[in-house]
């Protein structure tokens, strides 16, 4: 079972996930950023579900393990779609929505195929391994896509403060998660030390998104030149 600290971080992250949806609704941005809110609402429900399964079956049970990994993959896919909607917002003036959606589906399919090809040799618990591999690869794809989106924001001289902060928060989150996954792969002995990293990182994204919804209106603008270090 998780320690008291583990439960406290978990509870905090769950509250923060809910707070993003509440802030978005309060600021009338729920529909505009539907997939971001869908991801946060799903994260909240998954947290509650995990707690119930944990209490019912215990942390070492196969039920909890399956629920954890499958729900994690589902959340990663939701987060991927949230990122794609940020692309659509950034490119909305170029009327490129159809192409962005098509590219997103192709990339998701390609990542799933790549993950399958990596795990197909191991027959032992292949499905669970596949979902773990897919999550990890989607995090890295998400990081690369966020990096490209950031480049597009600078190039297009995007000024919408809220949109910029949503993208940058996602970039910080993806890069921290990808680094943690890589560390766990490289140093399996650090698993215990890194056990708290995922839930702590899980707090950062809802915290920064709630801040972006609460602090900045959709009309708030900033000077693009203030964002890029190279532009100074």
């Amino acid at each position: 079972m998780p320690s008291t600290l583990g439960y406290a971080i978990w509870f905090l992250a769950t509250l923060l996930e809910l707070s993003v949806v509440v802030c978005a609704v309060a600021k009338q941005s729920f529909r505009r950023y539907f997939f971001l809110n869908l991801y946060m609402a799903a994260s909240f429900l998954v947290s509650v579900g995990r707690y119930l399964v944990l209490n019912q079956f215990g942390q070492q049970s196969a039920e909890y393990g399956y629920f954890y990994f499958y729900s994690d993959t589902l959340l990663t896919i939701f987060l991927y779609f949230a990122l794609i909607t940020l692309y659509i917002h950034v490119f909305d003036e170029l009327k490129a929505e159809k192409y962005v959606r098509l590219a997103a589906v192709i990339l998701l399919g390609g990542t799933a195929l790549f993950s399958y090809s990596v795990v197909q040799q191991s027959s032992h618990r292949m499905l669970t391994h596949f979902f773990f591999e897919l999550s990890q690869n989607l995090y890295f794809v998400g990081l690369v896509l966020t990096y490209l989106l950031w480049g597009a924001i600078l190039k297009l001289r995007e000024t919408r403060t809220r949109l910029v902060q949503l993208v940058l928060s996602l970039g910080v989150y993806f890069s921290l998660f990808a680094a943690t996954y890589a560390l766990r792969n490289m140093f399996p002995a650090w698993q215990v030390a890194l056990a708290y990293s995922a839930p702590i990182l899980g707090c950062l994204l809802p915290l920064s998104w709630a801040y972006a919804f609460l602090r900045h209106s959709e009309e708030a603008r900033l000077v693009p030149a203030r964002l890029a270090v190279a532009a100074q």
Binding site: V172, S208, R226
Partner: protein, 133 residues
């Protein structure tokens, strides 16, 4: 090998995203004017210096905390420490960094002064509401 590549790429990206995120937080308050009270208390009128940051933070900590700006203040605080670290170490090797880090630290100080302004206004509102009730 793949994991090492992902680690290096993600750490480099993390640094860039973190710096840009902090700069977006700072940029969003860069054009806000300070109230005359905060200008008097901090000694900052339109431009701040990097050295002002710690003093303004001490004043900021005296005010009741607002949950909604806590995350932003912490992120900018981490950015300020990163800049100060750069100043202490790499500036000797790359002197051109000195001007940039000092300008960024000054922006951090101005951000803290705007946050102080908000907290003072918030405290005043709270006090007024208590007196009314």
């Amino acid at each position: 090998m793949m994991a090492a590549f992902i680690l290096v790429f993600s750490l480099a990206a993390l640094l860039q995203f973190f710096v840009s995120y902090c700069r977006s937080l700072i940029a969003s308050s860069a054009r806000l004017p300070l109230s005359p009270e905060v200008q008097d208390v901090t000694g900052i009128s339109s431009t701040a210096s990097g050295e002002d940051y710690l003093r303004v933070m001490q004043l900021l900590l005296l005010c009741p905390e607002r949950i909604e700006d806590r995350g932003g203040i912490r992120a900018v605080g981490a950015y300020y420490r990163l800049l100060s670290f750069l100043r202490r170490t790499f500036v000797k090797m790359v002197p051109s960094l000195s001007l940039w880090t000092e300008r960024e630290r000054a922006h951090c100080a101005y951000f803290a002064a705007v946050a102080l302004d908000r907290r003072i206004a918030f405290s005043r509102n709270m006090l007024a509401q208590q007196l009314d009730s």
